[in-house]
């Protein structure tokens, strides 16, 4: 796997990704630092921020695999992030088929990967 575009790298282009995926120092936007929210992903405590969706909080923690397809078991993440494509269905507080790109993050939420159609509680 090589980058064969043959251009000189810009300053910083080869930086390895930072563990924190929160954007800092944006030229246009400022992201108010709202309070932290603790939630659980597959039983593991993670920190998100007030006012964001579960999908955004997972992405900020580097979680991209949200569920597995019913027949093939293939991994799925979000695709549209605006509540239209249903690729991001997860089990939240035991409730399957929760569209996490629209679902606000709540303190103590238990978020789990969904397999197939999920089971009703």
């Amino acid at each position: 796997m090589t980058n064969s575009e043959g251009r000189s790298p810009e300053p910083g282009a080869r930086r390895s990704p930072k563990p924190d995926r929160r954007i800092q120092g944006h030229p246009i936007l400022t992201f108010e630092s709202k309070g932290p929210v603790t939630f659980f992903f597959e039983g593991r405590p993670l920190t998100g921020r007030q006012g964001e969706t579960i999908a955004a909080a997972l992405a900020a923690n580097g979680v991209r695999l949200f569920r597995r397809a019913e027949k093939t078991g293939r991994p799925r993440g979000f695709f549209c992030a605006v509540g239209k494509c249903a690729s991001c269905l997860m089990v939240v507080d035991g409730k399957p088929n929760t569209m996490v790109c629209m679902e606000p993050l709540r303190e103590g939420a238990r978020v789990e990967r969904q397999r197939g159609r999920g089971r009703l509680p």
């Binding site: 796997m1 575009e5 120092g25 695999l65």
Partner: protein, 377 residues
């Protein structure tokens, strides 16, 4: 059952403009949106609008959302955020009406409960959904719509990845690529299947100055990775978009962003029973409509991307036409100091015609002309 004169579905640029126009003209309006925050896709648009004569030129999309929302909140309109429309029961012309006052009923799902809303006029401003593209492993986590990436970065301040391949060089692909760089993310390349760049030169030039290669006559043929995107294979294509053997190469990326067009979100319109027409230039199936944005049903209107994929400036103008016409059709009297409906409609229609005469308005103008050539029923 709650009742309103005009129900507007969708709180993006088209729906907000429709609700503002209709409220100013004295109609009782209810605006429904499935998000908690109004503005639709404007809230993630950090770029400044330009090109057209309308008065938001030079303003960032996200600020336009705030302006429109404030305009609406200053009017006696009902706003129902965090609410999805899950049913439409519209009376056909000769059937008994759902109530003596309403021409139709919407079923609404809020976070906690279901409610009904009777309406006399319905304005569908549901927007559009991003298209996927056919290639191997296109379902891997890390293959995102360009708009999804924009939402993640610009609304929530989260990086989707560290190194991105952008597929598609229309304005969305170009603008989002630039915004990725603004967010500190590397753009490995922009690939475009057509032999030339699709979007405005000014956006492409910004990327070129930053050293991002824009590879025309190229496409993605495979995403690499087992559980998540770990790379992409791109190749050259001939003029029929067939991959050229021996031209494929791997790019080290962790995110693949698709900016390959949008499809109108027409479900409610299909369900209403209005006439639908397939017009490729408008993005697929759209409801037939006249220049007043009325569908074949008359009391059902539409505005914005759901009437044909265009841009936020045209969506706002279409919304104004739909809102004003719907209010006028109910015989409403404008609020004090507001221009009469006929004037609002005529001015917005003139601006729409002027935008569509521009070099990038061709496609929409052609699509709308095709619609005009069809019979309403």
């Amino acid at each position: 059952m709650r009742e309103t004169d005009i129900a507007v579905v969708g709180g993006g640029p088209a729906g907000l403009s429709a609700a503002v126009a209709a409220s100013r003209l004295g109609a009782k309006v209810a605006l429904i949106d499935d998000n908690d925050r109004l503005g639709g896709q404007l809230i993630k648009q950090t770029h400044k609008f330009f090109g057209s004569r309308h008065h938001y030129c030079g303003t960032r999309g996200m600020d336009i959302a705030t302006i429109l929302e404030q305009e609406l909140r200053g009017l006696p309109a009902e706003i129902l955020p965090g609410t999805s429309v899950v049913g439409l029961y519209s009376a056909p012309p000769l059937a008994p009406r759902p109530s003596p006052l309403a021409d139709g009923v919407l079923a609404l799902a809020g976070r906690e409960r279901f409610t009904k809303l009777g309406f006399k006029r319905l304005i569908v401003a549901t927007g559009a959904a991003e298209n996927n593209l056919l290639f191997e492993n296109n379902d891997l986590p890390g293959v995102y719509g360009a708009g999804a990436v924009q939402t993640l970065m610009n609304v929530y301040g989260v990086r989707p990845g560290a190194r991105v391949l952008m597929v598609g060089s229309g304005n969305i692909g170009l603008i989002v690529s630039y915004q990725l760089i603004q967010a500190g993310i590397e753009v490995a390349a922009v690939v475009e299947a057509l032999p030339k760049i699709g979007g405005y030169h000014v956006h492409a030039a910004k990327l070129a100055r930053l050293g991002v290669p824009i590879l025309t006559s190229h496409t993605i043929i495979r995403a690499l990775g087992n559980e998540e995107v770990e790379g992409a294979v791109i190749c050259r294509v001939d003029k029929n978009f067939k991959p050229l053997p021996g031209t494929s190469r791997r790019l080290r990326v962790d995110t693949i962003c698709l900016a390959v067009g949008l499809t109108p979100l027409s479900e409610l319109l299909w369900q209403s029973g209005c006439r639908m027409v397939y017009v490729p230039e408008l993005g697929g199936h759209v409801a037939w409509h006249n220049e007043n944005m009325q569908t074949s049903l008359g009391h059902v209107y539409l505005a914005g991307d759901v009437s044909g994929i265009e841009e936020a400036s045209t969506a706002m103008l279409e919304g104004r036409v739909a809102g004003a016409h719907a209010a006028m059709s109910l015989g409403k009297v404008p609020l004090a100091g507001q221009a009469p409906a006929e004037q609002v409609i005529a001015e917005a229609q003139a601006e729409l015609a002027s935008i569509r005469k521009g070099p990038f308005g061709d496609k929409a103008a052609c699509g709308k002309a095709k619609l005009a050539g069809c019979a309403p029923v």
